[in-house]
Symmetry: C2
Subunit: 543 residues, 2 copies
Amino acid sequence: MKLEYIYCEFAKEQDSHFIWSLRNDSYARKMSKNKGYINLKTHNIWFKQKINDKKYNFVIIFYKGEKVGYARFDVSIQDQVTYVSINILDKYRNKGIGTDGLSKAIELIIQNRRDICKKFIAEVREENTVSKKLFDSLGFRLKKSMNSIDRYELLYSERNKLPSLLVDIKEGIIDLGWGHPSAHLHPTEFIKEGTNQLFDRNDHIPLQYGAAQGFGPFLNSLAVFLSSQSSYYSQISPNNLFLTAGASQGIDLSCTLFTKSGDTVIVEEPTYFVVEKIFRDHGLQIVGVPIDENGIKVSELKKILTKGLRPKFIYTIPTYQNPTGICMSVERRNQLIELSEEFDFLILADEVYQLIYFNNLPPPPFMSLNHHGRVISFGSFSKILAPGLRTGWIHSSSDKISKFSDSAVTFSGGGFNHFAATLIREVIDLGLLEKNIDIIRNEYIRRCDVMNVALSKYFGDSISYSIPSGGYYYWLDFKSGFNTEIFLPHAEKAGVSYRPGKIFSESGKFENFLRLAYTLYEPDQLEEGVSRLYTAYRNFGKS
Amino acid sequence: MKLEYIYCEFAKEQDSHFIWSLRNDSYARKMSKNKGYINLKTHNIWFKQKINDKKYNFVIIFYKGEKVGYARFDVSIQDQVTYVSINILDKYRNKGIGTDGLSKAIELIIQNRRDICKKFIAEVREENTVSKKLFDSLGFRLKKSMNSIDRYELLYSERNKLPSLLVDIKEGIIDLGWGHPSAHLHPTEFIKEGTNQLFDRNDHIPLQYGAAQGFGPFLNSLAVFLSSQSSYYSQISPNNLFLTAGASQGIDLSCTLFTKSGDTVIVEEPTYFVVEKIFRDHGLQIVGVPIDENGIKVSELKKILTKGLRPKFIYTIPTYQNPTGICMSVERRNQLIELSEEFDFLILADEVYQLIYFNNLPPPPFMSLNHHGRVISFGSFSKILAPGLRTGWIHSSSDKISKFSDSAVTFSGGGFNHFAATLIREVIDLGLLEKNIDIIRNEYIRRCDVMNVALSKYFGDSISYSIPSGGYYYWLDFKSGFNTEIFLPHAEKAGVSYRPGKIFSESGKFENFLRLAYTLYEPDQLEEGVSRLYTAYRNFGKS
């Protein structure tokens, strides 16, 4: 289907008359070097010659199906530049159509005239403020003024483009730092199927304000789905679920509702660095408590509580922890709940990896234990379906669920991501969520294994780590004395990147650790990434 | 397409063997009154007879296409009740399948056997904890225990169902209180077109983590669109836009990033009550400043600032204010910006009605004025496309946009509502957003007019109000001494509702005002609603 709004096409011979009329537009004449009227016959001859010459390119700009202007690209082989100009019908000026039109015309040229000079030059008269603003907003930069002509230059690669996606990887680098799911695994077909089923219902429900707690049928389907999953261990009622716009949004909302600036919260050390920043954005004081292979050291926590610290909550990633991959033992989980009762704090359990287990089941989630109403658990479709949907859930006791549902931001907008929730409900009911989890779980098992084989092949005993039993990450211990922050630029020079251990720590520890994710890249790239990491490591040791 | 997950069908004769095997299941036998083995021949005769008798209804429950159990509904004409039982294959028990299956079986029965008794009774043996839990979670309530049989009762209308939508209107009431767009006007077809175009691209972009500032092509299309709208008055660069999950989410995020608990903020009096509650959820102190027909009284604001009050920001709805419908004059807007410079505070401008103007353009939005980088403006697709999409934008200076983009909750999840943004971008590019705004604008003009005619026909001079020139609301002044809070139950008895003036006030003013919305209902219902309001009013005067 063709875009009805603004689009571009290369000019054809029959566009001659349209271009002629624009060339004779009074403003165009005024702004041109040659100010005289152009005869149609002369123009037709000139135009026919130009469009058959590769050095000249005319692009027609359409707005809502109508021709509203054209852009012209003249290649100067000698100067190795492309001269750009644009001409828009009077009544369409100053509406941003020229800017968008020229932007699209440049794309068209770049994609279809591969050998064009990608240094674009626009020569504009000083008094032509309209065009100057236009080129400026497209990222053209003023280079020199001469004879009242302003000269704007733009290198194509410098174009001021807004990014589409969050992931931002330097060219040539295998960035094992991003804890993102593999784009190739995104279930576009499943989402299409769900969308079809949703639209087959032919009602307006997906477009209205959703219920504050979340779209009821979605909560029902999610409850049935989670209850059927072995790694959830128990029956889940939809009354205990609340729709979120992802785990981070749920954590952010919890900060708003359960803390005030200056309050103290506990985190594991190390922990997911971005969540720490969410706490800081809320003005919270953060205290870290160390973890070992069984999760947070509850005895250490008890010590600081006994000394008088009164946190509002503890934030934990109990299963396949980020960054360490560790699972908190059931015993520690129960001890933590006991402490939360004794010292009156909440447990924010970030359990987004609960379904990403490999060969064995993870320990039971906090809500399946005897939780005394102290637990707020966060789940997310980012890890099991698609992050772009920005949808997750909170599982908690009904008094907490009411607090979330009654919050003003929830009530004002209705349930978070209602539309996505109506869609995901179909995906669940079609059995496609389960199918998708099977696919990604198997793929991650494979990738995790590939990374392990590569790590042990290259690094041998020079580093130590545990093989993850689920989740996204390897947490590598480069012997004490090694500094992964200092090492980072050397690794990037060798074409690989990672997250240094220090960023996961409140107190600047773990400088000899680094985190690798095996989810984003294909197996052969993982192997290559580890190989490059080793090359950098070996050379780093020598330098 | 058939649901692959859990669905129900009425049993057919060929299901006899399946039901027989389940009747003889050891657990079923143990929990039944009749504990003996059932002969297949006897069963077949019995079953054939039952399914041809309208008083007996067997429903097969499917899970992923397989028969996993059945529910039985026996109608007792004498007792006017329906006895319910359920039987699930052993390996599917305790997974929530029974709960969901029975829930769907009840729906099937209700929809197809219209004359069935809607009082459902389940008789369960005391020791049958599985079934007891199941009936409990479906909203059945224990009535009496006798002979070790627990008797659960459920009236169909009492079913503990989670709501789908936010709007919650008592039966028989025309609720003119909800400031929601009309469901009938939701552009489902446009959304389908956009979705098709999105899926035609056949890439994974909509499912990945979106850029923190928002999906680039969406920001570009939005900038072009807004720049082309007369009511926006100026060119808008995508660099000054930030994708939100609706205006409320943007306001909530602004509180997180620009205030801390205990800070003071200014609101108009009256103002949108839910936003006040967002501020309270952030622990902010709220000070109200009165408005007149030209918007907030800047002179009053200046007085309290001069006395020493130091607010972090002022929250204003400058155009078609909620609830009054008033537009702040350009002069006041400029004065407000000057004050914000002098006393160092931000202006949070909730400009979600900027495109819902009727016959004349509204005043220019704050960002088109000389705003000194003091303005954060909120826009929303809830008012111009569909609230269920939960998508909006912030328009602000680039330092503020960076602050939003760099916030931890944004970075952790990527751009807010990325998937919806990729979809809305298509809707914009197809020209369908513009089309939709034309449709709703014309319809609201009509509805606003109908309400005006009805108000003046029924109430004449007994109330006073201004006719809105855009937006959603009438703000009716019932003479001083009248209390719209006390009047509310009387109005609801007459079958109409509204929002009393007092809820829009920090200091409990406006008790003689009320707010009506003309967006949710069709014209004839608006007329009927106003007529009912008048009936209640006339009788209220007399009682």
